[in-house]
Amino acid sequence: MNDVTLLGHQIRYEQKSYWRNPQSAFFTFAFPIMFLVIFASLNKGERLKDLGNISFNQYYIPAIIAFGVMSACYTSLAIGLANRRESGILKRLRGTPLPVWTYFAGLVVNSVIVSVLLGVLTVGVGVAFYSVHLPYHLAPLLLALILGAATFCALGVAVSTLAPNAEAAPAIVQFPFFALVFISGTFFPAPKGSFISHLAGYFPLVHFTNAVFAPFNPLATGNGFAGHDLLILGLWALGASAVAIRRFRWEPRRG
């Protein structure tokens, strides 16, 4: 098998394992869909004054796309790797000739496949049921998604090393996730200039949400690139990758 076929081979088995694992299929795939339906229905017909009176769902659908990427990349990698490390699957893998890059590429592509499915489903539901307009620009949306996926995959790998054992992993992973979701305006944009919006500005999710929203924003006059947010997201992607590479371990820390 050459390296490309080997990567395809690896992705196939990551996909099988992902969809059969009730934890990943529920927490990282069904969860965003559930939030999508609940909040989009509750706020149907609402308008957002802070964003020039656009419909709530024209903002909320892109926000849920960002939420989905974070879920499929950060949550699934952080919990999945913590479990695999604790159970010895990672160590076992280290003893096979599978190249390290192929293993990680397999994990990342798996997360990207899930993210794309979530994104397409989210936009589809938005367009079909909540009168959401399709994105006005594609290139900035793609760039935002790539940077977001990179940031949250790297953060997932880094955070997986913080869990002292597999039982603690979901709590350790989900706590910062939901804290971030609530302060970053996923369910409702935080008022500009507020303490919450100031605090959220230090973390990547609000910038990711803004960068995904920009190409969906019917009132935006530019080309859909949220330059400032994309820049901060890019810095997060680099920083998180460096931390992930430094912190990654094949075996649990003991003692």
């Binding site: 088995y13 099988k16 159970s87 076992r92 190249p99």
Partner: protein, 305 residues
């Protein structure tokens, strides 16, 4: 060329020296057992050979390369079965083996390996639904799917019931039939005796004895013990032989049991005194092992390592 060469290997964890300068060689096609109690340094030594740990000093060659380099080429030739079973729980037996077979340039056939470990009826079952013993067999199957020249087995039967151990031994013997070099660790003497051509006993980070299971610790040439007892009222001193009282028995240690028995039985016939429960004993592998690893009971014979 030997499959493995280890020279003056040392490994420290902080101030603790887990492996204190060990040497051994494993011939190609041989079955080599590292025997020792928990904490003796066997897993550390094994994991250095497997490439999981870096050594502090010394030389290690596995199939002619340094395992610390961790090259893909070396991993393609080596199969590893770790102490703990760890396979993706959501794949089936056949999927797990097919996936791993794809990692190697010349893997064995998946169906053949499944048959070899006796999991034909579980081939379509998810790993999470297998029993502990079946998972262990899958683990061994994953260790050999790449058609390795060398297989490491870390305590392959720890926690097995006696019949599961027997079938695991059969499995290992099946591998040996293919000319594969096998390095295993164990703390069971009988396992080393059943499987290994060469045994090294490791204790406190050092090899305290090495050889074939038959000759280990000088067992084949060690002093024999002649054990018997005398009827009530006969004092041992009447024998005029250097016997030692151990419980109700008398023990005579000798390097020449034929001559000693002749003297003893001659005395018995001359004096009309029976030698009750007369037996000649040699130290068992277990005696040698306990002696070497410091767990010796006071009645054990002193055997030179």
């Amino acid at each position: 060329m030997p499959a493995i060469v280890v020279r003056n290997l040392r490994k420290s964890y902080g101030d603790v020296e887990a492996v204190r300068g060990i040497d051994f060689e494993v011939a190609t096609g041989a079955v080599f057992a590292l025997l020792g109690p928990n904490g003796a340094g066997k897993t550390t030594t094994l994991e250095i050979m497997e490439g999981f740990r870096k050594r502090t000093s010394g030389e290690v060659q596995v199939l002619g390369t340094d395992p610390a380099a961790g090259t893909r080429a070396l991993r393609e030739r080596v199969g590893i079965v770790l102490q703990d079973t760890a396979v993706d729980p959501f794949l089936t037996v056949r999927e797990a083996l097919t996936r791993n077979a794809g990692y190697y340039p010349r893997p064995r056939s998946v169906a053949e390996v499944i048959r070899l470990v006796g999991l034909q009826e579980k081939a379509g079952t998810r790993v999470q639904k297998l029993s502990g013993g079946q998972q262990r067999r899958l683990d061994v199957a994953l260790g050999i799917i790449g058609n390795p020249e060398l297989v490491f087995l870390d305590e392959p039967t720890t926690g097995f019931d006696p019949s599961a151990r027997r079938s695991a031994w059969e499995l290992v013997r099946g591998l040996i039939g293919g000319g594969t070099t096998i390095v295993l660790t164990t703390h069971y003497m009988d396992e080393a005796q059943e499987l290994a051509d060469q045994v090294a006993v490791i204790s406190g980070g050092k090899i305290v004895a090495a050889g074939t299971p038959e000759s280990l610790g000088g067992r084949d040439t060690a002093a024999a013990r002649i054990r018997f007892s005398l009827p009530n009222g006969v004092a041992p001193t009447e024998l005029q032989l250097p016997v030692e009282a151990i419980g109700p028995d008398l023990v005579l240690r000798t390097d020449d049991e034929v001559r000693a028995l002749h003297t003893l039985t001659g005395w018995s016939l001359d004096h009309g005194v029976p030698l009750l429960g007369l037996v000649v004993e040699r130290p068992s592998l277990e005696d040698v092992y306990l002696e070497l690893t410091g767990g010796a009971a006071p009645t054990e014979t002193g055997v030179a390592a």
